[in-house]
Every structure is written in C-alpha cells, then in structure tokens.
C-alpha cells in the first residue's frame, strides 16, 4: 500500500512530528508498504527552520527527519504559504521578499497545497498527525 503522511502539529507543542516519524520508519521497514512523501502543514512547518537549536541533551526531531530523508530518499515538503508566514524561507522566497537570508533547513522543500492534492490522488492512504 502506498502512503503519504500529513502532519499538522507543532514540533514543539505536540508529538505529531515524532509519531509520524515512527510511523514513517515502520512503513519503510515493511515489505508490503511504501512511503510516497511527507507533507507538513500548519505549525508542523516549524520543523523546517534551520535556525532551530535543539538542546544537546534532547532528541533532535528535525535532524531525525533529515536523516530519514537522506537515507531513504523521502521527500519532506512544507506548505509554502504556511511556512512563509511563519518565517521558514527558502533561497528563492528570500530573494522574492528581499530578505537578508533564508531559513529553510536542508532536505526540506517548500511547495503549494497542490503537491498534497497529488499525494491524495496517488496514494492509497493519507495519515494525519495532529
């Protein structure tokens, strides 16, 4: 079965990104299921801020997603409208808004909700994490 994950919950105020990570790992480990991609919406986009500094003695959820994306080629997409309003800015958006720098962390990309609609059309199941 082909899955996509839809994460809404803030990485700081909820465990949505953590639960989704363990769900993603389970899909990847299974033989009969595949993960198409992960779409972050609402406050979940805060996970893509490269300026986040996780205290050294705490679990770094951003790094965990980046590693998963690198190791298994999983696309991590942040909703561009949700991200930009929260200060998660890619190089191209930084130029467009004439800002001094970009804040998007590596392995994450900004795309419109249309990308999520194509996940809905392509996948057997969308699982939400709130």
């Amino acid at each position: 079965m082909l899955y996509a994950l839809f994460i809404h919950g803030s990485p700081f105020q909820t465990k949505a990104c953590h639960s989704a990570l363990s769900f993603a790992k389970t899909i990847i480990a299974s033989k009969e299921h595949q993960l198409k991609g992960v779409f972050f919406y609402q406050d979940a986009v805060l996970i893509g801020n490269r300026f986040n500094q996780c205290p050294r003695d705490e679990f770094d959820i951003q790094a965990a997603w980046q590693t998963l994306s690198k190791d298994y080629g999983i696309e991590l997409t942040l909703c561009i409208a949700a991200a930009v309003r929260r200060g998660i800015i890619s190089e191209s958006e930084s130029e467009r808004y004439e800002l001094e720098s970009a804040s998007l962390a590596s392995q994450f990309q900004l795309e419109g909700l249309g990308t999520f609609v194509s996940f809905m059309n392509d996948c057997d199941k969308i699982i939400s994490f709130k």
Partner: protein, 115 residues
C-alpha cells in the same frame, strides 16, 4: 477519486487552524476534488451570523463561506443538537443534520481532515 471532508472543530478566532482548513478546502476544490465541510464544537462559531471581528482578531473568515459556491463547495453541515439556542443565528448556507444523518455523513468520505 472519492470525496473529502474538512471537519472544523476549532474556533475561528483562537488561531490559524480554521484559516488554514478553509485554504485547504479551496485548494482541493480548485483541483476539482469533491469537498464538503462539517462544523462541530467551537468550529460552529464560523457559522454565526453578524460577526464583526476587528483586524487584530483575524480575518473575517465567515465571509469566505459565501464564496464557496463559486468553488463548487456546496455542502456545509452541522449537527442539529449543536445549533446555538438563543440569540445567535446560523448562516443559511449550512444544513443541520440529525444525529443519525450526522453519523452517516461522517462515513461517506474517502478522506477526512480535522482542524
């Protein structure tokens, strides 16, 4: 592809959840997906008539409801049991469902997203 339900349970004025739920509904509709909206709990506040939020309280999201017909979003549901009792009118754009109809409605969708 099956129908999608956006179920709004958050208040329109406590955060961005409702704004971002309506944005999702409109994008889905723009991509010609079949979308219905359901409201319960604090989410019903979006259906109240005669709201006048000021700028600091957020955009007047209830005004978006009237534009939904242009996106072919025609079905807005709320449970009959949660209609406010006195002094508050609910927009005529929404239809109230009996408990049985509400439960039946919730089972009709391939995707349900709750905000």
């Amino acid at each position: 592809m099956g129908k999608t339900l956006i179920h709004i349970t958050s208040s329109p004025y406590t955060g961005l959840a409702v704004k971002e739920a309506l944005d999702l509904a409109m994008v889905l509709a723009t991509f010609e997906q079949d979308v219905d909206l359901a409201f319960s709990g604090a989410g019903i506040a979006l259906l109240h008539q005669n709201q006048s939020p000021d700028e600091s309280q957020g955009k007047a999201l209830y005004k978006m409801l009237a534009s939904f017909e242009f996106y072919d979003i025609d079905n807005l549901y709320l449970p009959e049991s949660q209609i406010p009792k006195e002094g508050i009118e609910i927009t005529s754009l929404a239809s109230s469902l009996s408990e049985l109809e509400w439960k039946d409605m919730l089972t009709r969708y391939q995707h349900t997203f709750r905000f």
